[in-house]
Amino acid sequence: MKRTWSLALLLLAACGIEPSAVEDSSEAPTGVAPGVTLYFLDEWGELRPQLRETGRLGTIAEAVGLLLTGAGHSGLRTEIAPSSVTRVVVTTTPEVVELAVPLTAGDVTPRGIDQIVCTALGVHVQSGGARTMKAQVRFVQPTPVSDVVRTCPLIR
């Protein structure tokens, strides 16, 4: 009889929430960084990352806006035409980051577009996003170049 009761108690106790040991759960969150990484070109026309120590990672729009202000006196150059307006509108869908830049297709070379794409996707990856993300650069006037979905040659 004693055994029957202890069995019943065991059954009832098993229905509650039991304390557990430490269990592995998932990937840790990320997103902190001492600064933002922008992509410029060296003298051979190759993409070069450059860390701007802003004290934080910031958003994609901030990073691309910063890219548009130019390379400064770092020995690197940019193939994006200087513009007084640096405001970039970012729309993120599950597969594609859409970047509406205040430029025309004529203001950038293909390498310049790579600079924009790499900077945007770099911030995306650093803030915890997937490396398979693609980017689409939309220019102010209608052009077929706006519809191309791109990846960064450095981030694959």
Partner: protein, 471 residues
């Protein structure tokens, strides 16, 4: 399980076993269902909480200054919700119970694992889910390094526990609902099994009580029906052999009665002839006289035997009748001894008159048989004690011979039983003690055979009721 709690009846045992099995099955099914559902509920709650925390942290980290100052930690902590602890080196920002609940093991796991970890614990009687995670720095190429910022969050699981308790309760209720159903089914099953068994028991009881015509009606075609049919067959053959046995017994008795009856007439003639022979025996030659004496003795013995056989036949046929009268048992015993010329060989001890209502002739037969037996097979002194005890009259006959051997005792009253197979030519018929017992029983009394305690010799005790009704 053989204690006083275990029921004895087949029905109760069947009932208890059925109910226990059914309820146990229902409980196990309900409990395992509730357990699985509960575990799934806990797992999904944990996943939801960790995903929410990852989202909350990930939403603010890109805007967070690095290396963080106290203000940045406060922002991260408020973004991560209540009951959260955020540390960076020696800086910390805490809210609610998180700081008290987080054990060192969780901190170690966070520091070394670089992954989000969880642990369930109890604090203040409530279940909590502790989530610990480092905040990582991801390089543009995807390499992850710990930033040194650690977030610990405690999430209340009381709501989940209430849901699980609710499920367990409904499982218990479900299991309890099977109880009356199980009892009903068990009663039906027990009834269908036990009714034929009860019928069979009643039949067996009637058979045992002597009603050989008792039969059960077999129903269906199961094992119990087979058993019933077998019992019926057994009762049938028992009835037949009993009838055959009774027939044979009756035939044998009738034969004995007929034989003794037929022998009586020629014996009367023979007796008369022998009487004449005995009167003229004195004038014979010694050889002839011896033969004549032998013939006289054997003829008298034959007459006694036939008379006793006829008496036995009357007992067997149930035609023996008592003729009771008022008599003094002590006087009757004294008359019996005197009539047979045994007065000087037997010591009679009687307290005076012992009045009773008995059949004088039959009492005389019993006493004569017991005393004659003692005189023939025992050794003197033979002693007869008459006593009254309550509603009974006791006549005790003892001798000082070798007594009755152990193997003889059960057969002393058997007809024609001879204790010593070699001594077949004793003068008694072998019916004396059997007749004594029959006569005592006819009175409603008894004769006991045994040995004297503390002395040599056999001891026979005749018990007779003082008031014998006419039988």
């Amino acid at each position: 399980m053989s204690g006083p709690l275990w029921p004895r009846g087949l029905r109760s045992r069947l009932l208890v076993a059925f109910v226990v099995v059914t309820v146990l099955g229902a409980v196990v099914a309900a409990w395992s269902g509730a357990g699985t559902a509960g575990a799934a509920l806990v797992a999904s709650s944990e996943q939801r909480l960790t995903e929410a925390l990852t989202g909350q942290i990930g939403a603010v980290t890109p805007g967070l200054a690095y290396p963080p100052d106290q203000g940045a930690l406060e922002r991260l902590r408020s973004a991560a919700g209540a009951n959260t602890l955020v540390t960076y080196g020696s800086l910390r920002s805490a809210d609610g119970v998180a700081a008290d609940l987080v054990p060192d093991s969780l901190r170690t796991a966070v520091r070394t694992g670089n992954r989000m970890v969880t642990q369930r614990t109890t604090g203040g009687g409530e279940p909590w889910l502790l989530i610990g995670t480092p905040v990582m720095i991801t390089a543009p190429d995807g390499a992850r390094t710990p930033s040194g910022i650690e977030v610990y969050a405690a999430r209340d699981l009381a709501g989940v526990e209430r849901e699980i308790a609710g499920m367990a309760r409904s499982a218990v209720v479900t299991a309890a609902l099977t109880l009356p159903l199980a009892v009903l089914l068990a009663l039906l099953a027990a009834g269908s099994v036990l009714r034929p068994v009860r019928d069979l028991r009643d039949t067996a009881r009637r058979l045992a009580a002597g009603d050989l015509g008792a039969r059960s009606n077999p129903r269906g075609a199961d094992e119990l029906a087979d058993l019933t049919a077998t019992v019926n067959e057994m009762a049938g053959s028992l009835q037949e052999s009993m009838a055959a046995l009774r027939r044979m017994q009756a035939d044998a008795r009738r034969f004995a009665a007929d034989v003794s009856h037929e022998l009586r007439t020629p014996l009367s003639t023979l007796t008369a002839v022998v009487e004449v022979l005995s009167m003229s025996a004195d004038g014979m030659e010694p050889d002839a006289r011896e033969s004549a004496q032998l013939a006289i003795t054997e003829t008298r013995r034959l007459v006694t035997l036939v008379e006793e056989l006829m008496e036995v036949s009357r007992f067997d046929a149930g035609t023996a009748r008592l003729r009771v009268e008022d008599l003094d048992v002590a006087g009757a015993v004294r008359d019996c001894l005197r009539a047979r010329g045994w007065s000087h060989r037997v010591e009679l001890v009687a307290p005076g008159a012992v009045p009773a209502r008995l059949d004088r002739r039959r009492v005389d037969v019993v006493v004569a048989n017991l005393v004659g037996n003692a005189l023939r097979h025992g050794e003197p002194p033979v002693r007869v004690v008459v006593a009254a005890s309550g509603g009974e009259v006791l006549v005790e006959v003892t001798d000082s011979g070798p007594g009755l051997p152990e193997h003889v005792l059960p057969h002393v009253f058997d007809r024609f039983y001879k204790a010593d197979a070699a001594r077949t030519r004793t003068p008694d018929s072998g019916l004396g003690l059997a007749l004594a017992l029959e006569n005592a029983r006819l009175h409603g009394g008894d004769v006991e055979a045994g040995n004297r305690t503390g002395a040599r010799g056999a001891r026979f005790v005749l018990r007779l009721p003082r008031e014998s009704g006419d039988r």
